[in-house]
């Protein structure tokens, strides 16, 4: 198996300097997790579960306190690897306004490439390609602040894409978007994964988004609680609720009916499956 990211016994903690005595707060406790090249993995967990910290360990924003993280075979703890790691695993954050630096869309997308000293002709080509991939090419001469949230977030993704990373880490990229913006960003992420083979790690609070991944990893209190295909994870309705998480409504409805003794499959995840199963019941 070809792993793009490998975490081995990863430990990480923050120290709370505001308290009278500094308190060490263990955020990640012995996490071991491999992320396969080309896969689409969703990370779920309530606020403070450690999922964002974990993602930040994946592109060396945070360095392990114990254990190791390898990105594309490179140890994140070694400083000489830093540039290569950041280039191969790019990160997109929640608030698009905090990530956009230029006053013209295409300049923003070119920003990192200019810093990396890429040839101008190559920059032109990559900026155009990236903008086309996220469907924002027609907006290349627009001012970012006049775009919608979903458009801005796609520009931020294009900026990462221009560096030709093998992996993109997205930390709640749709949290501040409206339903239309969320759909646009999710379509873009799926396209990058399926057509361009980009490895995707998506942190989200939206269960319907996690349901679109190949694999769902649930984190609670710095530990991995569940790690499986979306169907297996979401079928554990009670466990998810106990963890302060939710399941898609289709799953919950099927779960409730099955608990009431009706013949419903326990691992329903998508709308259409649920419709079929209920139709079968109603026909008797």
């Amino acid at each position: 198996m070809d792993n793009f990211i490998q975490a081995k016994d990863l430990k990480f903690s923050f120290t709370d300097n505001y308290s009278e005595k500094p308190v060490k707060n263990e955020v990640l406790k012995n996490i071991s997790l491999n992320i396969e090249r080309g896969s689409f993995v969703a990370l779920l967990g309530h606020n403070g579960s450690g999922k964002s910290t974990l993602a930040k360990c994946f592109n060396a924003i945070y360095l392990p306190e114990g254990g190791k993280v390898y990105v594309n075979g490179m140890d994140t703890a070694e400083e000489k690897n830093l540039m290569d790691i950041r280039r191969s695993a790019g990160m997109v954050f929640q608030d698009p306004d905090n990530q956009i630096v230029a006053t013209i869309v295409e300049e923003d997308v070119a920003f990192a490439l200019e810093n990396l000293g890429v040839e101008p002709a190559e920059i032109r080509r990559r900026v155009d390609d990236s903008l086309k991939t996220v469907g924002m090419y027609e907006y290349r001469m627009h001012a970012p602040h006049r775009l919608s949230g979903g458009q801005k977030q796609r520009v931020a993704i294009a900026g990462i894409l221009a560096m030709q990373p093998e992996c993109i880490l997205l930390d709640e990229p749709t949290a501040m978007l409206d339903p239309q913006g969320r759909r646009e960003v999710m379509e873009t992420i799926k396209k990058l994964n399926r057509e361009n083979g980009v490895t995707i790690v998506l942190i989200t609070h939206y269960m319907d988004e996690a349901a679109q991944a190949d694999r769902v990893v649930v984190i609670d209190d710095g530990e991995i609680i569940l790690d499986s295909a979306p169907k297996q994870v979401f079928s554990q309705v009670q466990t998810m609720k106990n963890l302060g998480l939710d399941v898609p409504q289709a799953t919950e409805l099927a779960y409730r009916l099955s608990k009431a003794g009706y013949d419903m499959p326990a691992d329903i995840l998508y709308e259409d499956e649920c419709v079929q199963a209920i139709a079968r019941l109603l026909k008797g």
Partner: protein, 287 residues
Amino acid sequence: MSIIKTEQLTYIYGENTPFRKVAVDNVSIDIERGEAVGIIGHTGSGKSTLIQHFNGLLKPSAGRVLIDGEDINADKKKLRQARFKIGLVFQYPEYQLFEETVYKDIAYGPKNMGLSDEQTDMRVREAAELVGLDDKLLDRSPFELSGGQKRRAAIAGVIAMQPQALILDEPASGLDPQGRERIFDIIKRYREEKNSAVIVVSHSMEDIAGFADRILVMDKGSVFCFDTPPRVFSRAQQLEQIGLSVPQVTKIFMKLRKMGFDLPDDVYTVKYAERILKERLGGQEKV
């Protein structure tokens, strides 16, 4: 009597410029005392512009806004009163925390209302208790709080003014499911304890559906409909056409109806769906 009433309210951005845009178009609505209202609409539908009229942050281009029966734009005194009667919590309110301590931040509103120190103190402690902020946290800097705590501290600052209508713009955005539930519990409790109207603007139909007595759906600056949740969701198909996403159970029931099953068209919560299906399946043999 209604706490908030608009009469042919119209608001135009950039009048006399090439960017002229009618953001709110001839809106006449009534919100009753103690009512829970959800406001939903696509980005740019005018919902945020509308609520900014409720406490006089924006002045209508045409039409009137009546709070407690009085035109708030009639004179400055009425406007000032309206600001205390209608509490507005913006999106990401935690960005607006600015005082040295959580206590001072929550006290800012009541103090400005001219309450005594004693009264202010009572208001602060009551509001902090209602949003679930521990007494110990009140002496801390707001910047030492967690994200969820900051959000609740900011809401407490508005609650401490004890407005007769509490309006919140996307109060749960960016929170995890438990955090969302907690915020809605706070809103419901405030409503029950103060018999105050609560108005929540949201993109999430699921959040709104479980909470509102009535839902105001905005589209292109106009009122698309203003009705009870079952009646609003019975128009699910039209809601999707105007760019809103309806709850997943509503879509499931829509599809079942299309397949010819005789099911109600107003299903919008999992519990309701479960009850309906159990009724229909009641006589069948269980596994």
